[in-house]
């Protein structure tokens, strides 16, 4: 645990990737095998189930710190991280532990079954006897995932250096369902086990956003284009008469999309497809909002399946006839995919092909991109015809060329203190648009990103001086500043006061040149609904 806490501290105290990889590599060389398995699990968000609910943890922490619960809650709101808050408010200790990370995690797993009194005793004991950083890490193991700027990719790179195993192979080994408490480092990383690979997906290849105009990509004839679908990126695996559906976050989501059970049988074993899960209500592609009714749901009812069925918009094939075909050129893979599609497709079959579009020149492509919203896409995807299927986000062969966002000018009405790294600044903003009579500002969106640190500080100072009312962490401010807000999509919504929900709103520009009277109206926003 000491070494793990030290590792987290090092990772946490640098922004430099090289130093992070160095620290991780060093750790993977020296740590106990069992601790290594847990470290991989934790950094890839596979922590054990939470043994104590956070309400109790807050109560107990405020009790141990000798402060009222409301004060703990306020502190938590400002610090932004529960484990960090707990580590900060409890009386200091300089003690350190000799127990291994594995021992701690076994104890945490066992803790779940114990009565509350014993849980409390266990937490108090550790909170009081660990130094600040170990205490933070210990609490973090219980409460949630570590966000310390270590991606799976970065960890894989370090592990590769420490074990001399190829990064792609490691990425493959670490995917899927494995139990950190039951698997050894040998079995997970070092040994090869064919039978474990049945459910394992391939690492996704991710596209970069195009930086300038696409003619910089060269000859249009070398590229394949298709629409960029706005759903959930997924890999669908059919092996040994079983179906596995993986989302991009490397989550197994097979149970959430029972529609795809139809694939087993018609699609031969040894097939892996890459595509987008899209909502398909009333026989048409729906909005992302429709899909959200399926994402969070644990129980998929018959009613829900009827109301919002899904389809897989397939665009690539990674395994065919049991062979990994990622090295084949994109056009070759598409040939295989299109032949498969022609054989299995029917009106009711929940597999749709993402059609490729060919263009004579980039102007034609640009025109098609303008058409994106009509066909419920976010823009175009450009894929080099002779490119293999790569691992992770790599520049060069796949580009996303999104349609320009929708924008509207809105007035800042409320501000809230940010979380975590922005906890001492007001950086979370609410924006309003004018009602019909231009008398009242109606809230339509919240946005947290899009300003520079300098602008955030400027606006923060202004907010502190122009507060009208305080509601806990939220302040209403004098309507004065106009911002251009960009968003990806817009739909009717009963849950919002404005009657409209926007997708991914963010600040595009601070319109210091505009007066609040020049901000847009709700009417003008509604006109953008397709």
């Amino acid at each position: 645990m000491k070494a793990f806490a030290e590792l987290i501290k090092t990772l946490d105290s640098t922004n430099k990737t090289t130093l992070k990889v160095e620290a991780l590599t060093e750790y993977f060389r020296k740590a106990q095998p069992k601790d290594k398995v847990w470290t991989i699990a934790i950094l890839s968000h596979r922590r054990p189930p939470r043994p104590v609910n956070t309400t109790l943890m807050r109560e107990w922490a405020s009790e141990l710190a000798g402060i009222p619960l409301w004060l703990f809650e306020e502190s938590y709101h400002i610090v932004g991280d529960l484990a960090e808050t707990i580590a900060l408010v409890i009386p200091r200790s300089e003690k350190s532990t000799e127990k291994s990370l594995n021992q701690f995690l076994q104890e945490i797993i066992d803790l779940k079954k114990k009565p509350d009194e014993e849980k409390k005793e266990y937490l108090f004991e550790n909170w009081l006897n660990l130094n600040y950083y170990e205490r933070f890490v210990f609490t973090k193991l219980i409460t949630g995932s570590f966000r310390i700027g270590v991606s799976q990719k970065l960890m894989t790179r370090a592990l590769s250096r420490a074990t001399d195993i190829d990064e792609d192979i490691l990425a493959y080994k670490m995917m899927g369902n494995w139990e950190p408490s039951k698997i050894s480092f040998n079995k997970l990383i070092l040994e090869e086990h064919e039978e474990d690979f049945l459910s394992k997906p391939y690492p996704f290849y991710l596209a970069y956003a195009i930086e300038d105009e696409p003619h910089s990509l060269g000859d249009v004839a070398e590229w394949s284009a298709e629409h960029k679908w706005d759903g959930i990126r997924a890999q669908v695996i059919i092996r040994n008469d079983e179906l596995f559906v993986w989302s991009r976050g490397e989550e197994l989501v097979t149970d959430k999309y029972p529609e795809f059970e139809d694939f087993v049988g018609p699609i031969p074993n040894g097939t892996v497809l890459d595509g987008e899960i899209l909502p398909f209500p009333k026989g048409k592609i729906g909005t992302f909002k429709d899909l959200q009714t399926r994402i969070g749901r644990k129980n998929i009812t018959k009613k829900l399946l009827e109301k919002t069925p899904v389809i897989l918009k397939v665009y690539d094939i990674l395994e065919w006839d049991g062979d990994d075909i990622r090295e084949l050129a994109f056009e070759k893979r598409r040939d295989i995919l299109e032949r498969l599609y022609a054989e299995v497709s029917s009106e009711e079959f929940p597999l749709h092909l993402s059609e490729t579009i060919s263009f004579k020149n980039w102007q034609e492509a640009a025109a098609e991109r303008e058409n994106a919203r009509e066909v419920m896409s976010e823009g175009l995807m450009l894929k080099r015809l002779d490119s293999p299927y790569l691992v992770g986000r790599k520049k060069g062969d796949w580009w996303k060329w999104k349609v320009e966002p929708l924008t509207i000018d809105a007035v800042l009405t409320y501000a809230m203190r940010g979380h975590g790294r922005r906890s001492n600044l007001f950086t979370d903003y609410t924006f309003g648009l004018w009602d019909e009579e231009k008398e009242e500002l109606v809230t339509f969106a919240k946005a947290y990103s899009g300003l520079t640190d300098k602008e955030f500080r400027q606006l923060d100072a202004w907010i502190k001086r122009n507060t009208l009312e305080r509601f806990g962490p939220v302040r209403s401010v004098t309507p004065h500043h106009v911002f251009e807000i960009a968003f990806e999509g817009i739909a009717e919504s009963k849950r919002h006061k404005s009657g409209v929900a926007t997708r991914f709103p963010r600040i595009l520009r601070w319109r210091t040149d505009k007066k609040i009277e020049e901000a847009n109206t709700l009417e003008e926003l509604r006109a953008l609904i397709p």
């Binding site: 105290s13 004060l71 975590g420 001492n424 500080r457 100072a461 507060t467």
Partner: protein, 340 residues
């Protein structure tokens, strides 16, 4: 209802009986100034009154102003109101301002800390009925480590960087933090270089405090001579072209905000040391208790939270809006000043 001895209006903290302002943020006829930071000592007043040790500081910052200096505990009376200045321990020349009229005593802290930093004259509690306090770090999450430990960590960090062949760049406000760091750096490790803004301010303060030797970085300073040594720079130098001369370098910041893991990362600084010129949570609570006051007015910082806690402890506590900005504010105003 009788007029309170001190009232908060749009210009600052106003004593109507004496027709004088404490740390006003708009130009006034007569201002008593707690200390030299830009959000407390502003430009444009007709007459300034402050502690003798702060006179050179505000003259340096504000230019040719009419200022009269006072000693600690020296009482001066304006229209029957007795004023006196008492050490606040925040930075050199920082005072609490005591105001007494017809037996009623108010104390305005400006900014303060209870720990003796070896540079500023240490904080002294002053008995009063009403205590106007800052609470920049008025949350139980803030607990300072004794300066001795923090400075040991800073010196260890410098030595380590030197061993790695790197230059240490340490950020601290040019007035206050920079001199506090300077005073306690271990000169057996190497030499201390300074950014112009810090060198100028330190120059002003040398007659008052014995500081280690420093070298101003100028256009002529050779890159090789800085290597492995330590550079003191204001936060605004971070990310500027000026800093390129220090390559290869490692950065660190010393501030109370470094308590939060996220604060350091947001500023893209390699290392954060928790060292503040304000009180931590316990420091504030103890300071208030020692004044024996009944009423507390919280000016800047986590005012709502802190005053609510005080009310629960039985104090008559409330919040007043001011334009003082604690540590963030200093960063802002220094940016303006130093980029100008």
């Amino acid at each position: 209802m009788k007029t309170p001895l001190l009232a908060f209006n749009e210009k600052g903290i106003y004593c109507a009986q004496a027709d004088v302002y404490l740390d006003p943020w708009k130009p006034v006829k007569k201002a008593i100034i707690s200390h030299g930071h830009a959000d407390h000592a502003r430009w444009g007043h007709q007459k300034y009154i402050t502690h003798n040790s702060n006179v050179p500081i505000i003259k340096h910052r504000l230019g040719d102003i009419e200022v009269s200096g006072k000693e600690w505990n020296e009482t001066f009376t304006i229209n029957g109101v007795k004023f006196s200045l008492h050490p606040a321990g925040h930075i050199i020349g920082s005072s609490q301002i005591r105001v007494e009229y017809k037996g009623e005593v108010w104390v305005f802290t400006g900014d303060y800390k209870t720990e003796d930093d070896g540079v500023a004259v240490p904080y002294e509690p002053v008995k009063c009925h009403t205590f106007i306090t800052e609470c920049t770090f008025g949350l139980p999450a803030f607990k300072w480590t004794p300066q001795e430990h923090v400075m040991r960590d800073i010196n260890t960090w410098w030595q380590q960087n030197k061993d790695d062949g790197k230059t240490s760049v340490l950020f601290g406000y040019s007035l206050g933090k920079a001199q506090r760091l300077l005073k306690h750096l271990d000169t057996s490790i190497g030499s201390i270089y300074t950014h112009g803004a810090i060198e100028n301010m330190t120059e002003v303060l040398r007659p008052q405090v014995d500081f280690p030797e420093t070298t101003r970085i100028t256009k002529e300073t050779k890159k090789e001579e800085i290597k492995g040594n330590i550079v003191l720079a204001p936060p605004s130098a971070h990310g500027s072209t000026w800093i390129r001369k220090m390559v290869p370098y490692v950065t660190a910041s010393a501030s109370g905000w470094m308590t939060f893991r996220g604060a350091r990362r947001r500023r893209a600084i390699d290392k954060g040391f928790v060292l503040s010129d304000h009180c931590d949570w316990q420091g504030l609570l103890e300071a208030i208790k020692e004044t024996g006051c009944e009423k507390v007015i919280c000016t800047h910082g986590y005012t709502d939270i802190f005053s609510r806690f005080l009310r629960e402890q039985g104090y008559d506590a409330r919040t007043e809006d001011t334009q003082y900005e604690g540590e963030t504010g200093q960063l802002e105003s220094e940016n303006e000043k130093e980029s100008a």
